[in-house]
């Protein structure tokens, strides 16, 4: 009895605390589906590449981790450093590759 109440309460609590974030998740799901709407198949790959670059936003988490790491916390420093490099690769590489793909398309538009 106590466990059920406790668990139910915990979940509802968590939802309440994070309600704005949950709203964002729900709305972004609908927006994400909506903006993809009618994509010509020729744009599937550049779109995939662009989306790939956008999820590179995960680098912000890596920056926060690195930024908060104390000088004696080697795990956070080293792994954090690695995470920042990987995140940057995702962002920079992603946007540059997408641009290259799209550059090939645009050359012929007079």
């Amino acid at each position: 009895m106590f466990i059920e109440y406790y668990t139910m309460n915990s979940i509802l609590n968590w939802i309440t605390i994070h309600q704005e974030m949950i709203y964002i998740v729900i709305l972004m799901i609908f927006i994400g589906i909506e903006v993809i709407g009618r994509v010509p198949s020729v744009l599937h790959t550049p779109l995939m590449s662009g989306a790939n670059a956008i999820h590179g936003v995960v680098i912000i988490g890596a920056i926060i981790v690195m930024g908060k790491a104390e000088t004696d916390n080697y795990l956070a420093l080293i792994l954090g450093f690695l995470a920042v490099i990987l995140g940057t690769l995702n962002v920079v590489g992603g946007f540059v590759v997408t641009d290259r793909m799209l550059e090939m398309f645009k050359k012929k538009r007079k």
Binding site: M21, H55, T88, M104, K108
Partner: protein
């Protein structure tokens, strides 16, 4: 004040992600959309570095490490992205996706180690007086929630990371398809074990050893998830892993209460999932079908049982003549054209034929090549006029009035078995109906099967003849012959 500006930066970032993604789905605005999203990303990143303040009110430090990492990643990323061949584009997308997944995975590892384990012990192992329960129930649910998010980021990030690297290897040709009997059951059991351990830790006490066990098992799962799937299906898998990384990024957003990470992550998670399903629809196969790696088993059957049949070869001079004096020629490019890097020779042939008054167009199948749009990119690189490329539906209407179809290294996309043979792995996939044309000339290096590993009846039909050889050489020879006419 600074936090307010940071909030603005995140708001701008989130909006540019939405607008950028929308613009990326329209050919006219796609390139600018990419730029818009990149700008928003930069603003969000710079804002974080300089303006972020944690709950205690202190700013970020370790600027040296941060900028060092960004500099290294930036240089490598730019060089790699600029130098890679156009035909290696899908691999690069997969590789960068893997980097993002690894980043999310590392964040989870660090945050797990940060958790105040002593407080955990106290909360979960002490009999708490109900009077105090009210005060700390928020803490309990918050900590459990955080733990679940950390695990989600870890599992999804790891699978995406290693899966993307395997996909990269497959497209490279370095990694071959591999599957063993009962693999699907093995995968499912593995997944259940992973979720089981995670659930156990959420209900009980977090444990460093079990945490790394989950990490290892997730990586293992990622490997076996992608390993059996055929190379031709990789773009679909990459798109799926792309949305996985998006979700992993969103987990990071929850951890740090960061709206822009959440927005970017979920946007890509949802859009990526839909894109994956659209790609499957273009191949007329279900996602389930793709993930099960069906090419493995059934290819043995039909291929072995079929007779060779007889095919005709056409001489170079005859091919040159029939094309030079045709009214209308359609070129069907395929992966073979990309491999031979023959796109420039192809354009030269097209120009020569057009000079002689032949109407030349290119029929582009949605999944010709290794990724959607592969052929378009290849031909655009050779300066082929955008308007000469026509989509499958329109091409199929024009084939009956076409004199000569020249197939350059395409195979499965012109295989009639997709319409006629229910046991064929490609059955149901819409194809280019080249057999409706008056003459079909097929250029391949040999009679070896294409990516689906099956025979192609088109080669044995009455109006088809084969022109063997490397695409680039054959095209150059054709050009020479036509000039001699």
């Amino acid at each position: 004040m600074e936090l307010n500006i940071l909030t603005l930066c995140y708001l701008i970032g989130s909006v540019t992600f939405i607008i950028g993604l929308k613009m990326l789905s329209h050919p006219e605005r796609a390139r600018r959309g990419n730029l818009v999203a990149a700008t928003g990303m930069t603003i969000a990143i710079l804002g974080t570095i300089f303006l972020y303040k944690d709950d205690g009110g202190s700013r970020l430090h370790n600027y040296g490490w941060i900028f060092g990492g960004i500099f290294i990643g930036g240089i490598i990323g730019t060089l790699a992205a600029k130098k890679v061949k156009m035909t290696a584009m899908p691999e690069m997308v997969s590789m960068f996706n893997g980097m993002g997944g690894a980043c999310a995975m590392l964040i989870s590892i660090i945050e797990f180690n940060h958790l105040d384990h002593k407080y955990f012990q106290y909360l979960f192992h002490t009999k708490i007086d109900p009077i105090f329960l009210d005060q700390i129930k928020n803490d309990i649910s918050d900590l459990k929630g955080t733990l679940i998010i950390i695990f989600a980021g870890l599992i999804i990030g790891s699978i995406s990371f290693i899966g993307s690297m395997i996909a990269w290897g497959k497209l490279n040709g370095v990694i071959k398809d591999f599957s063993f009997k009962g693999q699907h059951v093995f995968n499912i059991i593995l997944l259940v074990v992973i979720l089981g351990i995670a659930g156990y830790m959420v209900a009980g006490t977090p444990n460093l050893f079990l945490f790394y066990a989950i990490l290892g098992l997730s990586l293992l799962y990622g490997v076996f998830f992608v390993l059996p799937i055929g190379g031709a299906d990789m773009p679909v898998v990459i798109s799926l892993l792309n949305s996985f990384t998006g979700v992993a990024a969103a987990c990071g957003g929850f951890l740090y209460n960061n709206e822009v990470m959440l927005t970017g992550g979920i946007l890509v998670g949802a859009a990526g999932t839909l894109l994956t399903m659209l790609m499957c629809k273009a191949m007329n196969r279900s996602l389930f079908n793709v993930l099960i790696g069906s090419f493995g088993g059934s290819a043995e059957g039909p291929a072995a049982a079929k007779q060779q049949g007889s095919y005709k070869e056409i001489a170079l001079t005859d091919a040159a003549t029939v094309m030079a004096y045709a009214n209308k020629v359609m070129i069907v490019p395929g992966y073979g054209l990309a491999v031979a890097q023959a796109q420039h020779a192809c354009h030269d042939l097209e120009k020569l034929l057009v000079e002689r008054g032949v109407d030349v167009k290119y029929a582009i199948h949605p999944v010709a090549g290794r990724m959607p749009g592969h052929m378009n990119v290849l031909l655009a690189e050779a300066d082929v006029n955008y308007e000469k490329l026509i989509e499958m539906e329109q091409a199929n209407e024009e084939f009956p009035s076409t004199d000569v179809v020249l197939i350059l290294g395409a195979n499965d996309v012109v295989n009639p078995a997709a319409k006629t043979d229910p046991s064929s792995p490609i059955y149901g996939m819409p194809i280019l109906d080249v057999e409706l044309a008056k003459t079909v000339i097929v250029n391949k290096r040999s009679m070896k099967p294409g990516y689906a590993g099956i025979e192609n009846d088109l080669f044995f039909q009455k109006r088809t003849s084969m022109l063997f050889g490397d695409a680039k050489k054959v095209l150059q020879d054709l050009i020479a012959e036509i000039k001699n006419l």
